[in-house]
């Protein structure tokens, strides 16, 4: 096995990464599952649902309030405006996604195993929250402002984790520095396509594809194919 697949990630790396990006890092302070009695949380679900239906740009505060069954006055008590509400919903999504990655992360874990586990956690999270998946993966990238920044930060954390696969200095010359960014874009495009096609619940089935594309730049084709098979074996074993 190439050295990069077995090299552990430095102990503090992930926490530092998340902190550097000022991302919400845990689930502890968040209600999980979402509390239907909380008007705030109903509004967060509602903005995700309304923007999934007509796009974030076209979504109005009236849409959000109607979907949530919350008055306009209450909306403005809780949020400054539509962007503010969207940002809060994105924070919730990011906290879940980062929480999922922190949960599978261990400093002693080999890089390839970490990628398999993180990819599975991420796909399963998206599948379990279809409306938030759509919001975070499709609406946020084009929303602009602070919500876009959250999305971009989350992506940078994933990119830094992938780049740990490149710890063999011999490889520096061999592959372009954009390899991790390109691999993430590849996986993202596949995920977004499935969400738009209405297959969000089946996203975990993409695990071997995602593991292959994110490991192939660093591990080579044969080892990446092996990692993809291994990821699928782990996933189906956990399911049954």
């Amino acid at each position: 096995m190439p050295p990069s697949s077995s090299a552990p990630i430095g102990p503090k790396d992930l926490g530092v990464l998340i902190e550097d990006e000022r991302l919400p890092a845990g689930r502890e302070d968040l209600l999980e599952p979402l509390d239907p009695h909380s008007q705030r949380e109903r509004l967060l679900v509602a903005i995700a649902e309304a923007s999934a239906e007509k796009g974030y740009t076209a979504t109005t505060i009236a849409d959000i309030c109607a979907t949530a069954g919350v008055s306009r006055a209450t909306f403005y008590e809780l949020f400054k405006d539509k962007d503010d509400c969207f940002h809060a919903a994105m924070e919730l999504s990011l906290a879940d996604a980062m929480g999922g990655i922190v949960a599978v992360y261990s400093p002693d874990k080999p890089w390839a195993k970490m990628v398999r586990d993180a990819a599975r956690s991420f796909l399963e999270l998206l599948a379990s929250r279809p409306t938030f998946a759509r919001m975070a993966m499709i609406e946020a990238p084009s929303a602009g402002g602070r919500s876009y920044e959250l999305y971009a930060s989350g992506k940078r954390v994933l990119q830094s984790l992938l780049e740990r696969g490149r710890d063999d200095p011999m490889e520096e010359e061999a592959i372009p520095s954009s390899a991790a960014r390109a691999a993430l874009a590849a996986a993202e495009s596949l995920i977004v396509g499935q969400i738009l096609a209405g297959n969000t619940e089946r996203l975990p089935e993409l695990l071997p594809d995602v593991v292959y594309i994110t490991t192939v730049p660093y591990l080579g084709q044969e080892e990446a194919l092996r990692q993809a098979r291994e990821a699928e074996r782990e996933r189906t074993a956990a399911d049954s």
Partner: protein, 238 residues
């Protein structure tokens, strides 16, 4: 209308300069009504690209579009139901032009490596020559709602056959994941979008080695991909 003509209509000069659109002579003219309608539609589609590129989709109004195209509000609503429908039509026209250019370049070459290289070169140079078109086709479309997003996905799908040939070319082709082509396209488009966002649209052609690597990589593995990109990039090469 020929593809070339539409291309010319949609082509934009570099940022900053406003191109004058051809308009039918004012007053009582003898152009047949369908010719006038067609030119109004073309102006409107070109205007949609300009205005959305400048103001963003959300801030664009029907009034902006009619003003830029020099047509009346009534004429606008005879052609399109709303801003969204007009944007989608402009989008389709832009994607048609791009896809045709890529296909022509791809098909002119022999062998998958050379075909993909030519296709990607055509894609990058087309986008670099028309920054507004590039932004509309790949960036602004994301904020234009679910219908536009579905068109965008469909447009990406149209590139699949160019990549799928890599599966036949690759020694390991049959063992590759089912979605290899989709992911390779996603990587290429992702790299291009990042350049556009960074304001480097006009220098997109410089991105060729990286998009080639991202394309070859899943089919050939990193070593062979780097080797093929290197050979392509060598000055002695084509």
């Amino acid at each position: 209308m020929s593809a070339r003509r539409r291309t010319a209509e949609l082509a934009r000069p570099p940022e900053g300069r406003r191109r004058e659109h051809w308009r039918p002579p004012r007053g009582r003219h003898r152009l047949p009504p369908e010719v006038i309608a067609r030119s109004q539609r073309e102006r409107l589609l070109a205007a949609a690209i300009d205005v959305v590129a400048e103001k963003g989709y959300a801030a664009t109004t029907v009034a902006d579009l009619t003003k830029e195209a020099g047509i009346s509000r009534t004429t606008f609503y005879e052609m399109f139901e709303d801003k969204g429908a007009c944007f989608l039509a402009a989008y389709e026209a832009a994607v048609d032009v791009l896809t045709r250019r890529v296909a022509t370049a791809f098909e002119a070459e022999q062998g998958w490596l050379a075909r993909v290289r030519a296709g990607l070169e055509a894609l990058l140079s087309s986008l670099a020559a028309e920054p507004r078109l590039a932004r509309l086709a790949l960036v602004d479309v994301g904020s234009a709602g679910p219908a536009a997003q579905r068109r965008y996905r469909a447009a990406l799908q149209r590139m699949t056959p160019f990549f799928d040939e890599g599966r036949d070319y690759a020694p390991n082709g049959r063992a590759l994941p089912a979605n290899t082509s989709r992911m390779a396209i996603g990587a290429v488009i992702g790299l291009i979008v990042d350049e556009i966002e960074e304001g480097r649209t006009e220098r997109l052609s410089e991105l060729l080695p990286e998009v080639l690597f991202a394309t070859y990589l899943p089919y050939l593995g990193p070593e062979a991909a780097a080797r093929e990109v290197g050979e392509d990039a060598a000055p002695a090469g084509k």
